[in-house]
């Protein structure tokens, strides 16, 4: 496709876009090869979750404004799902590829650089974020709890959320020596964040200082963005969330690249 030839007849290596695409393609290919076990849970999980909340818990919880509780929750769920899938991919998944099956070592013998490898991985995690968020929308929209067509923006925010948590998770992975260490990251950081980032109740309900703490947490921002877009409540303050997200991806992506390079190149 893009194989170029330079003057002395030596083939030039593929372009940056092709290299990133081929790394992304590897992950997609692996994901696709177990289509049933990989593709079904993203649809089942929100179904069970929303059914449980909608039929049970939701009755006891008042509406937020004119949004019933199950709807409030449903607008955050695509984002947390995207966060979780990207985090799994870039912790356990990446660790296994580096340490156990040495797949990355193999790829580094082909014309793929460490940066290509890591950025391709981040893009793939974003793609999974897109797909998982999309699955939630598909499940929730027929019940009218995610408004259409505005809800269709959610997979895109899922993509961005995937990029955020892929970058952060890769940085975490670069420090990890034994795989069980990831338990700290999941139960110590990601799970608490689920409750403090405006997913299950509005950030405004938090007591004073915790409200500021919530602004530091990465999940707060895509959740706020997603809900605002869903409800058609666009406002200038959301630019702050966009800025936070952009800076977060750039900073943690950069640090992850630097640290993982040290791990992959002797």
């Amino acid at each position: 496709m893009t194989t170029l030839h330079n003057s002395d007849g030596n083939k030039a290596y593929p372009s940056l876009a092709m290299r990133l695409y081929s790394v992304w393609y590897r992950h997609m290919r692996v994901y696709r090869s177990n289509l049933l076990s990989n593709g079904l849970p993203p649809f089942l999980e929100p179904l069970i979750f929303l059914a449980g909340i909608g039929l049970g818990l939701g009755k006891y919880v008042p509406s937020f404004g004119n949004v019933p509780y199950v709807g409030f929750l449903a607008m955050g769920l695509p984002i947390t799902t995207a966060m979780m899938t990207a985090s799994f991919e870039c912790t356990f998944g990446t660790f296994i590829n580096i340490e156990f099956n040495k797949v990355y070592d193999g790829m580094l013998a082909a014309p793929i650089s460490v940066n290509n490898l890591i950025i391709g991985e981040i893009l793939w995690a974003g793609t999974k974020g897109f797909f998982f968020a999309f699955a939630v929308v598909v499940v929730a929209a027929p019940f009218g709890i995610i408004p259409l067509p505005r809800g269709l923006i959610m997979p895109f925010i899922g993509f961005i959320t995937g990029l955020m948590f892929a970058s952060l998770s890769l940085l975490v992975t670069s420090f990890v020596k034994t795989i069980s260490f990831f338990n700290f990251y999941f139960t110590g950081f990601l799970s608490p964040m689920f409750f403090l980032s405006g997913v299950v109740f509005p950030v405004a309900e938090l007591p004073g200082p915790l409200r500021y703490a919530a602004e530091v947490l990465p999940l707060t921002h895509p959740v706020r963005l997603s809900r605002a877009i869903c409800l058609g409540q666009l406002r200038p303050a959301l630019l702050f969330d966009v800025l936070y997200i952009t800076a977060f991806i750039a900073l943690f992506g950069y640090l992850a690249l630097k640290r993982l390079r040290r791990r992959l190149i002797d």
Partner: protein, 310 residues
């Protein structure tokens, strides 16, 4: 003299306080097979990793690695595009089958469509993997995995093939098949850099070789020439030292070099008659008298101590 494909000059590599490669220099000509020999931990793998930018040498203005005009440390993609690498550990993608492993790497090299398909089919046939085309990686035997990794390394018609102990742990059939493949590659003008600690492998394949020990080069030359010049012609292996006292008087003879290990005794000499004379004093079955080979040279150059860091 052929133009050179690889040139390594005064290269150092340390991991913390350990010096894995210590001032190594050598030149590999185009279309030759060059052997890196040495015990475990001699620095062979580290040297090979530096060839394609998987490891970086210690920074020093004197240290130079040139692979087909590129420095792998700064232009890893140029080098990797021209190279095929067969690593010591199997690092096939266990999540994909045989064919998919190759088609993925074809993508990495920018091959696509029918060109990729033709190369893949041809290599699957050459490496005798046709029956296993759709098999999972874990269903492959050690020999099949190795052949698949070699096929993967050949996908992009490399100018140089780097093989790190390609036949370790394989049965003789597969080993000979791999040797044949490498000979064919060499005939096609591919430069081969091979590390091994099987001396027969080096003798069968290599035009030139170096023996490494503790990160340094201890001997360099052509296998035949090394055998002629750097080691005595004959060896008397005494595998049962029970009657050692009968021959003690001969051990200090100037024409004989004795190499004593725990259970055995090896006497080296250029004069077969001297060794025959000693052999007469021993019980039949306690000794072998034979021509010296590269393994003897290897032991002479690197000693009998175990260097395996594990």
């Amino acid at each position: 003299m052929q133009p050179c494909a690889i040139s390594v000059r005064n290269v150092h590599k340390s991991y913390g306080k350990t010096k894995a490669v210590n001032g190594l220099s050598f030149v590999v000509s185009q279309a030759e097979c060059f052997g890196l020999l040495g015990p475990n931990g001699a620095g062979k793998t580290t040297m090979m990793s530096m060839m394609y930018g998987k490891a970086e040498r210690d920074s020093s203005p004197e240290g130079v690695i040139d692979v087909l005009g590129f420095d792998p440390q700064y232009n890893p993609l140029n080098v990797r595009h021209l190279l095929g690498v067969v690593p010591q550990d199997d690092n096939l993608d266990g999540e994909l089958n045989v064919y998919q492993n190759l088609s993925l790497f074809a993508k990495f090299y920018g091959l696509s469509g029918s060109a990729a398909k033709t190369s893949i089919e041809r290599l699957i046939e050459t490496m005798e993997l046709t029956d296993k085309k759709r098999s999972k990686i874990r269903e492959l035997s050690g020999g099949m995995s190795r052949r698949l990794i070699i096929a993967r390394a050949l996908l992009n018609d490399p100018k140089i093939l780097i093989l790190d102990e390609p036949t370790t742990g394989l049965d003789p059939q597969v080993r000979h098949m791999i040797w044949d493949t490498l000979r064919l590659m060499k005939k096609n003008g591919i430069t081969i850099l091979l590390s091994t600690h099987y001396m027969e492998e080096a003798f069968q394949l290599c035009d030139n070789l170096i023996i490494m020990h503790k990160g340094e080069k201890v001997i360099e030359g052509r296998p035949r020439q090394l055998l002629d010049q750097s080691i005595e012609k004959y060896v008397l292996d005494i595998i049962n030292k029970e009657h050692e006292d009968r021959i003690r008087g001969y051990l200090n003879s100037p024409s004989i070099r004795a190499d004593i290990s725990k259970e055995t005794l090896h006497l080296y000499s250029n004069h077969i008659d001297a060794l025959k004379e000693i052999a007469c004093l021993l019980e039949p079955g306690d000794f072998f008298l034979r021509a010296a080979n590269l393994e003897d040279l290897f032991i002479k150059a690197t000693g009998r101590a175990l260097d395996d860091p594990a």
